[in-house]
Amino acid sequence: MYKIGVIGDRESVLGFKAVGLQVFPCLDSDEAVKTLHRIAKEDYAIIYITEGLCKDMGDSINEYKDMRIPAIIPIPGMDGSYGIGIANVKKSVERAVGADILFGND
């Protein structure tokens, strides 16, 4: 059995606690990186990270990119979306195809 973790700022993650996810409120991206590495070793299959923190921890997230578990998924936080999630989709298309052929026109 695996758990689901949510890393983010306090306001954003509050609600996820109510639906039964493990939440890890973090103030800045340094703390988030530490938390990420700590909980990635435990049995978390999915770790959601709010985009506000996500944008400064690219390297740490990329470490887990090619592993099957955990899946690290950026989600928008209370302060809205930074477009990181879509950018990731784009990036993986670029990686596979060599050029962005799907979303090139937007």
């Binding site: 695996y2 099957r68 899946a71 989709v89």
Partner: protein, 239 residues
């Protein structure tokens, strides 16, 4: 294209030919794999994009609800209300095989199946907006899970495609031309040797013939001389 550094012998030629055959076959298979992976990946990426947009929209709605809830209630009250969650979620991770790429499949289970009983607080001190926000979030949650699985699948597939593409290119532009070049080189070398051998043999044969003719001539002359001597010895008595 540089050829491999090998001895131009027949044995090496045979083994190189075998390698070329394997490489060509591997190249074809890899190419097929890449094409199929690409097909699946593009479809997945399209879905992924749509799903992500949907999740972002839904989450923004949820956050909006939470903002309203926290505006109505004091933050201490809100936190207290959500401090100890009632609902628990655990997920099972299965494996799905897409073109020999193992991708995770998430299957989630909630501790209490009753969706109307997920609120971890009494209703007396909380506002209705909070209930709405939490209900909405628990509705959004399965979509978020789907998104997680899909994004992971997409990124794993992308990695595999990248790897396969590299292999295809390495085979197509390095391995196969190199092998072909080397095979050609060995063939030319062997042919050249063959020709060299042929001329040498012809030359030797010529020389041997020449020698045989010389010997024959020498023998003939000897016999002729003996014959003449004999004739010269016999005739004077007759005269």
């Amino acid at each position: 294209m540089a050829r491999l550094n090998v001895n131009p012998t027949r044995m090496v030629l045979t083994s190189l030919k075998k390698r070329l055959k394997v490489a060509t076959r591997g190249h074809k298979l890899m190419k097929d794999k890449r094409d199929e992976l690409m097909k699946q990946f593009l479809e997945l990426a399209r879905q992924n994009k749509a799903l992500r947009e949907e999740v972002e929209k839904l989450l923004n709605e949820v956050y909006g609800n939470f903002t309203i809830a926290s505006a109505v209630m004091s933050s201490q009250m809100l936190e207290e209300a959500l401090m100890y969650p009632k609902q628990g979620v655990a997920i099972e991770v299965g494996v799905k095989n897409v073109m020999s790429v193992n991708v995770p499949v998430f299957d989630f289970k909630t501790e209490s199946s009753d969706t109307s009983n997920i609120y971890p607080y009494g209703f007396a001190s909380t506002s209705g907006e909070l209930d709405g926000a939490i209900a909405r979030l628990s509705e959004v949650f399965p979509t978020m899970l789907k998104l997680a699985a899909m994004e992971k699948e997409a990124s794993l597939l992308a990695e595999e495609i990248e790897k396969t593409r590299r292999r295809v290119n390495a085979l197509e532009y390095v391995m196969i031309p190199q092998l072909e070049e080397t095979i050609k080189y060995i063939k030319m070398k062997l042919d050249e040797n063959e020709r060299g051998n042929q001329t040498r043999l012809m030359k030797v044969k010529d020389m041997m013939l020449q020698q045989a003719i010389q010997e024959k001539i020498a023998v003939d002359e000897e016999q002729l001389r003996e014959f003449k001597q004999k004739e010269a010895g016999a005739n004077p008595k007759q005269k």
